[in-house]
């Protein structure tokens, strides 16, 4: 029920009156689509895992990339025929699996597979393996198999790119690509598999340059990076490069919270990997606070910026039980930093006195300060808190229930009332 596939987003409502001719054309389109669908189903139900059927699934998926069963059929076709079937003499340049591979083997179990396992069945025996019996030949055939598999996987990855560009939020395409990439790890030598995964990082960047907030692409990127870092692909940490990537994305658009979020997730790791000492950590925090302050100076209405600011502030005030930027900060350091942030935010008010998020930050961080110092707000602070809360109630009546809760929880009812 949480699947958005097939729902309409952002398409204008029009009074669709179809002419007779349009209706006929649509009927013809439906007829062709269903005919193609019937063909695929009939072949698959009889376990006809042939290159011709493979081509039929290509045609059908181009018409309807949301058709998950056909993606599954395609997986079965690959597993039971097209992969690891070296066809001697086929040129890599025309290595489209549907045109250059001769695969007629059928695997009876595949169509009715009910296993919950994601493991790939054993690859079919190569026609040359086992006949010669010599080690050298085995090596050759293994190499041939791997080259074949690499070509098949690459061709398959290429097939999905135009579909993904057209439907960048289609879960099935993303998950099919990951399945292919995992096969690359299983079947190819490490270096070859790594090259394929590296190209995938390029694709993730391309998708994010087209839509900077696409959470499929961000999640995919995280996964690809984790794999590239893994021992399985002979990798090492990419935290630094990924941190720079968030930098690049933020500079392109300060409002890109996906990039800010990603940054918040990379920071603890990055500092560990740098083996950053206390001074380096302090300098890092200063730099981040400087970056976000500059951004807030030009965009104080932007939620994305305040969220990241909150993240940095939580590093200062909420430091028990999870990694933070400056774990060695003393109580005094923490207080100094929070006080300085509050002062800077006050200055923002001079230019923007009607921006709700500024008042909210002042309110929030003043309470943080009291929490750090393990005390209740003093009378002067109470007056200020009440003033900011009153401002929030006026500027943002939509969230009046939240302001009422804050008023109650902080015991400021009388002070706010006095401002009426």
């Amino acid at each position: 029920m949480a699947d958005q596939g097939g729902s309409q987003h952002g398409i204008a409502r029009t009074s669709r009156v179809r002419t007779e001719e349009q209706k006929l054309l649509e009927q013809e389109k439906i007829r062709k689509y269903r005919e193609l669908e019937d063909q695929v189903r009939s072949h698959v139900s009889q376990n006809h895992y042939t290159p011709e059927v493979f081509q039929l699934t290509s045609r059908l998926l181009k018409l309807n990339p949301e058709y998950y069963t056909i993606w599954n059929d395609r997986r079965r076709l690959l597993i039971s025929g097209l992969l690891s079937k070296p066809s001697v003499g086929s040129s890599p340049s025309r290595a489209s699996p549907s045109s250059s591979q001769s695969a007629t083997t059928t695997t009876p179990s595949a169509a009715s597979s009910s296993s919950s396992s994601t493991a790939t069945p054993p690859r079919p025996a190569s026609p040359t393996a086992g006949t010669s019996g010599t080690t050298a030949d085995d090596e050759v055939s293994t190499q041939q198999q791997q080259e074949n598999d690499r070509d098949v996987l690459k061709s398959e990855l290429n097939f999905t790119i135009p579909l993904l560009l057209e439907s960048p939020k289609c879960y099935w395409i993303w998950s099919y690509r990951l399945w292919l990439l995992n096969l690359a790890i299983e079947r190819l030598p490490t270096a070859a598999a790594r090259r394929i995964w590296e190209e995938e990082l390029g694709l993730a960047s391309k998708m994010l340059s087209k839509d900077q907030r696409n959470f499929h692409a961000w999640g995919y990127r995280r996964h690809v990076v984790a794999q590239l870092e893994s021992a399985e692909l002979g990798g090492s940490s990419m935290a630094e490069a990924e941190f720079e990537y968030t930098d690049k994305m933020i500079r392109k658009d300060l409002s890109n919270f996906s990039a800010w979020h990603s940054r918040s997730k990379i920071i603890p790791r990055l500092l560990d990997e740098w083996k950053a000492d206390d001074a380096a950590r302090r300098a890092f925090l200063d730099k981040e606070l400087g970056l976000i302050r500059d951004a807030l100076n030009v965009g104080p209405e932007d939620q994305s910026l305040w969220y990241y600011h909150r993240y940095l502030m939580l590093n200062l005030v909420n430091f028990v039980g999870h990694p933070t930027i400056t774990p060695a900060f003393t109580q005094e350091d923490r207080v100094t930093y929070v006080v300085r942030e509050i002062e800077d935010i006050r200055e923002l008010l001079e230019d923007y006195d009607d921006v709700q998020l500024i008042y909210e930050a002042l309110f929030d961080y003043t309470l943080h300060l009291c929490q750090l110092e393990e005390r209740q707000p003093d009378p002067e602070e109470r007056v200020e808190l009440a003033g900011w809360l009153k401002k929030l109630m006026v500027l943002d009546p939509m969230r009046s229930g939240r302001w009422a809760d804050l008023e109650r929880d902080t015991g400021l009812v009388a002070e706010v009332a006095a401002l009426e």
Partner: protein, 326 residues
């Protein structure tokens, strides 16, 4: 966005919506009908739940519906989206929800493969190491599937088939500093994913892991000037978030954190009052998915004439009460 229809909103066009949903399965002369067959069972759940909330549960024949649902079941117990489509978690959850809605678990026992087999299919999709769930045998993992599993298994009375604690652990790893949850550990908070994680924790009786203060704040910040809700910071509003955000606020008891009247207005302005159905934003093409989530939103907002919806199961409260006694 044009402002011309912002000033006034039309009332809920109940009969137009009922007719819109009834007609959905009669649009076989439209190419789109065939392109969306992979969502048939999900669509049936969306439409049928909408009809129940609208007070017209009989608008789609009960017996035919049950027959269709059972015709989608595979030998492994799972359901595909339509006959001939592979079994998947999402369509299996829809099947269980429809059968719950129609009080038809008996039919599943007598004419289908039985509850236990369905439970087994779902339980087999749990990742024994991480505790999360895959959508099917091919392995895509997402907190949507975890919620779906908890939803269906608890309705079937079979939650004990899975490792609930491990799944709960996984959800806590998806939590972010802003109080929200993402699709997997490390992912950005997203209102849809927050719903799935929060509802799963609620079913498991583990809401104590939720930072309700931060989450309530984040959720309240989803309401934009026009009254609609968005799903992430600095994104456009969309009717479907009237469900994901509002149901989450309801689960943590903070629906007063947003302006309900303005949200009602936004949803009502997204209706096609003539032909029925609700769209993502005013003036856009309607679909059954946004129609359901517009209606569930209005139901949570106590809009008159709608049956109350359960914020965890996305079924009428009366259904959940009948099945679970709560």
């Amino acid at each position: 966005m044009a402002d011309h229809n912002v000033a006034e909103e039309p009332p809920l066009a109940i009969s137009a919506h009922v007719q819109y949903i009834q007609r959905l399965d009669k649009r076989r002369d439209e190419y789109e009908y065939w392109l969306t067959e992979h969502l048939r069972l999900n669509g049936l759940y969306w439409g049928l739940t909408a009809l129940h909330l609208l007070g017209h549960p009989e608008a789609i024949p009960r017996a035919d519906t049950i027959d269709f649902v059972l015709s989608c079941q595979h030998e492994n117990g799972g359901f595909g989206a339509a006959p001939g489509h592979d079994a998947h978690m999402l369509s299996t959850v829809s099947a269980v929800q429809i059968l719950a809605l129609l009080d038809a678990f008996d039919d599943l026992e007598k004419r289908g493969l039985g509850k236990a087999k369905v439970g087994e299919y779902i339980a087999n999709l749990q990742n024994k190491t991480s505790g999360t769930f895959a959508g099917d045998e091919w392995g895509e993992q997402d907190t949507r599937f975890l919620y779906g599993a908890f939803n269906a298994l608890s309705l079937l009375g079979l939650l004990e088939l899975v490792d609930v604690d491990k799944a709960v652990d996984h959800i806590t790893q998806c939590a972010n500093f802003d109080g929200g949850y993402g699709v997997s550990p490390g992912a950005e908070s997203h209102a849809g994913q927050i719903f799935t994680c929060l509802a799963a924790l609620t079913i498991a009786g583990k809401q104590e892991y939720v930072n309700t203060a931060r989450l309530g704040r984040w959720l309240s910040e989803r309401q934009v000037a026009g009254g609609g809700l968005n799903g992430r910071p600095e994104k456009k509003e969309d009717v479907c978030y009237s469900w994901w955000v509002l149901s989450s606020l309801q689960m943590i008891g903070k629906t007063n954190y947003i302006d309900k009247d303005k949200l009602v207005g936004f949803i009502l302005r997204c209706q096609d009052t003539e032909k029925g159905g609700i769209s993502d934003r005013p003036g856009d093409v309607v679909d059954v998915w946004h129609t359901l989530f517009g209606l569930t939103g209005l139901s949570l907002l106590d809009y008159p004439g709608l049956e109350p919806v359960d914020e965890v199961y996305c079924l009428p409260k009366s259904t959940v009460y009948r099945v679970l006694g709560r």
